[in-house]
Amino acid sequence: MAECHPVGFQWVMEAKARGATIVHVDPRFTRTSALADVHVPLRAGSDIAFLGGLINHVLRTGAYFRDYVVAYTNAPVILCEDFRDTEDLDGVFSGLDAAEGTYDKSSWQYAGMDVQAASGERDQQYHRRVSEAAGGETHGSGGPALGGKEPELDETLTHPRCVFQVLKRHYARYTPERVEEICGVPKELFQQVCELVTAHSGRERTTAFAYAVGWTQHTVGVQYIRAASVLQSLLGNIGRPGGGILALRGHASIQGSTDIPTLFNLLPGYIPMPHAHKQQDLDAFVRGEAPERGYWGNMRSYVVSLLKAYWGEAATLGNDFCFDHLPRLTGSHSTYETVRAQLDGVCRGYFLLGENPAVGSANAKMQRLGMAALDWLVVRDFSLIESATWWRDGPEIESGELRTEDIGTEVFFLPAAAHTEKDGSFTNTQRMLQWHHQAVDPPGDARSDLWFTYHLGLRIRARLAGSTDPMDRPVTDLTWDYPTHGRYAEPSAEAVLAEINGTDATGAPLSSYEQLADDGSTSCGCWIYCGVRADGVNQAARRRPGQEQSWVAPEWGWAWPANRRVLYNRASADPEGRPWSARKALVWWDADSGRWTGHDVPDFAAGKAPGHRPPRDATGPDALSGTDAFIMQADGRAWLYAPAGLTDGPLPTHYEPQESPFTNPLHGRQRNPVRHLLPPHPDDRYHPSGTEPGAGVFPYVATTYRLTEHHTAGGMSRWQPYLAELQPEFFCEVSPELAAERNLRHTGWATIVAARGVIEARVLITDRMAPLTVQGRVLHQVGLPYHWGPNGYSVGDAANELTHLVLDPNTHIQEAKAITCDIVPGRRPRGPAAVELVRSYRRRAGIDAGTGREV
């Protein structure tokens, strides 16, 4: 955090100054470790074992926050009799289809009911939910008994099939000895962490976890976060001040581009993109995707309001509000599938809008080969990044694999406007929108992406105007008329924000998502952002100085939803609505006024009393009781066990990374059995692991990361002289022991090889990369900052030449944080010899199309 979010880290230092203890868990010793009380180096790719060990400690010693756990988590819920755990089935959960590499999740459900998830892969329940509902209608019963049903509970937490007991059995083998064996963390050090975390949790104290892509970029990335969720929920650290699990995101609006997603699987506000189903209309879609209870129970209002924002007058009750205008998914269409679609000739045109996949995405070679197969490519950026110039100077040109004269891709480079040259909002890592104002016009041909998208849309609509082809109706029906200003006819960002915020039937701005209706009378481009322009005022532009406000600073910017700064903060009070302790008060029930109140905006219906119990037939938010703190969840509870929404299991389980020098000592499954594998490709081969023949050819673990002085794939930092001077070129970090083993010289060159590619880096020999003892063997890890490519002032090879395309099955994110590699002294070969070196490694390791692809 001190490296990559240095200014945010000042608050960690403030906490430390007030007595907080800082623990840093990372394979490397970094600037964060230097300022922490305890640094815990661990093997990259072993965090579930580490967190599982903590969960086991909490359960075994009784350190969990029992009152919180019983009231606010699903620990008391009884599970379906058919559920079998990884502990029963040697590393897989019940329902595995080994031929398909997928799970049938029906046996993971609560006993006697079918609960839907608040996020994740909700479509996996579509068939069961829609066909059962249709069956209900056929029988004239008015629908299935899905809604209004309470899960069966055992508040003594002793029923053998209650979540709490399942959890206990699942983690019983995650002992300190196992943690040491898997993670390379000595027992005593692990014990110290256990004691710190439990001593600083409970009524009087809270512990927070902060993570970044070191947790997400794995074939079990979502389960890493889930493991932290389980631990934090057990300790009562969610929804409370100083608690939580904080995702430290790496781009100015990466949170915003997830909320208002430029992502294939989502519509604005985490509404799922529809998957293709027979006879799917709006009702079937909502029935398939939305839970009956909680705020997702109002999904129809959110969807209809979005469709009204998109298609305006054209969206009517009579035409299902243009629901059929939405394109449908068939499986994953992630950026990595897009690369395959480019290679297959299906995807012909590609827009790159401030992203540099030629060096910044996993398996960079695949990215470039995909672009070389396109008809045309549009690159919008500040400078000539590698994704704009690969056709003349990319690694494949140098190696002779591609010839510039043979590449048919037409390339348009359009310069982009900077943040100082346009109005707009960023959503920061704590969900807070902040408006930035235009200071000057962009230079030359540079334009904002708002300008580009709006004017491209105008041109496309002009070309399709008058078309009677039903294919074109969604384009011709689209509301696409924004006021413009200035000499470049820049569209008004404020007008777009107004559409995102939403309006009522009279066109007046809405102030809360509670106002959204499912009858077409409201329009709202992103329901969770509803209220950002309450009263017609740009709330994101509020800048009341921090020193003039309370510690919550609610009048600086605007946080979704409803300007709440801590999600699920109802859980900061006990079931009766009193703060768990005076020093950890955040919101509480004020019986005199009959309302929730406190330092933060309560994340709860303002007038719903703690003692409120809903009528049995209530649905949506009305079905939540006064103690259902987790209001987005169908059962109002934090999920220790996830009965739905995940593709790879209801409980986090340790699997080895796709590539690992070690075998999984816990059970018979080496890798996540349902990890996302793309069809085999000759340029995306995987290494053998553990005791598989050839694994020794790649004996080291490599992990990628960022530095303070550079930004992601370098498009915004390698061209800045100050930053280039601070970090002038690519390097790798190795321990003195590894340097001795491989004859590497400090500041000399090293060549690093994987089955995907070969790179060279300057060598930085440092004690910061301490060797670990794992399963009785010494493990060396190689650190690879990933900012580089050949363009700009600060240059070097891209670490992503080494990474592969095996993905997390939930998020389709690549495993860049733990691969295996070899490292040898000296510079890498040039020209065709570089390709031949990689081939020779594949031959030595016996790698073919099937290596590492077992279920």
Binding site: A276, S383, T420, R459
Partner: protein, 188 residues
């Protein structure tokens, strides 16, 4: 210059007699440095902004003079950052005004070996033509007998460095075009 002026202008004298005994302020100033003013002092306008790098969201003050950005500094009012910026945020002025920024549209024709110049308007028309054509070429009314109403002919990547309003328009336009391959850095 008289002797008295000479003596009183001597930094050590001012350090010993003035209010700056450590010599870190007024006492250390020469006539030259005394005449210097900060860029921000003469700015015509201070525009409130947000750092464009990571997601902490540090406040920035953008100083504008004669229609140009002359300096970017941390905003002390921000409860997020309290006026601080990291090395990247401090390099925002180079990012936004440095010579490395391309200011013209560049075009590489199929099988071409060099960049060519292209008028922005022409480029926009060419891109619109190609988008319409690629959309049509990759159109799928259905897949395996199930309605999909989409195209796989065009794709986009990027958004995490852009504004919410920009992401909104991108998703809206591409969804209306039937494109499903819309992605950004949140995936990587």
């Amino acid at each position: 210059m008289g002797v008295r002026t000479w003596i009183t202008s001597w930094p050590v004298y001012r350090q010993l007699t003035g209010e700056d005994p450590l010599g870190r302020g007024a006492a250390a100033k020469s006539p030259h440095s005394d005449r210097l003013t900060a860029r921000v002092d003469t700015a015509d306008e201070v525009v409130k902004s947000v750092c464009p790098y990571c997601a902490v969201g540090c406040g920035q003050n953008v100083y504008v003079q004669d229609g140009r950005v002359t300096q970017i500094e941390g905003d002390p009012d921000s409860p997020v950052s309290r006026g601080r910026l990291c090395p990247k945020g401090s390099a925002s002025l180079q990012l936004t005004t440095g010579p490395a920024r391309e200011q013209q549209v560049l075009y590489r024709r199929p099988y071409g070996t060099e960049w060519e110049r292209l008028d922005l308007d022409t480029a926009m028309d060419m891109i619109a033509d190609r988008t319409v054509a690629a959309r049509r070429s990759g159109w799928q009314w259905e897949v395996d007998g199930v309605r999909t109403r989409r195209t796989l002919g065009v794709a986009s990547l990027g958004g995490a460095t852009l504004d919410n309003e920009e992401n909104y328009l991108i998703k809206k336009l591409f969804t209306a075009l039937g494109a499903v391959q819309v992605e950004n850095q949140a995936r990587v």
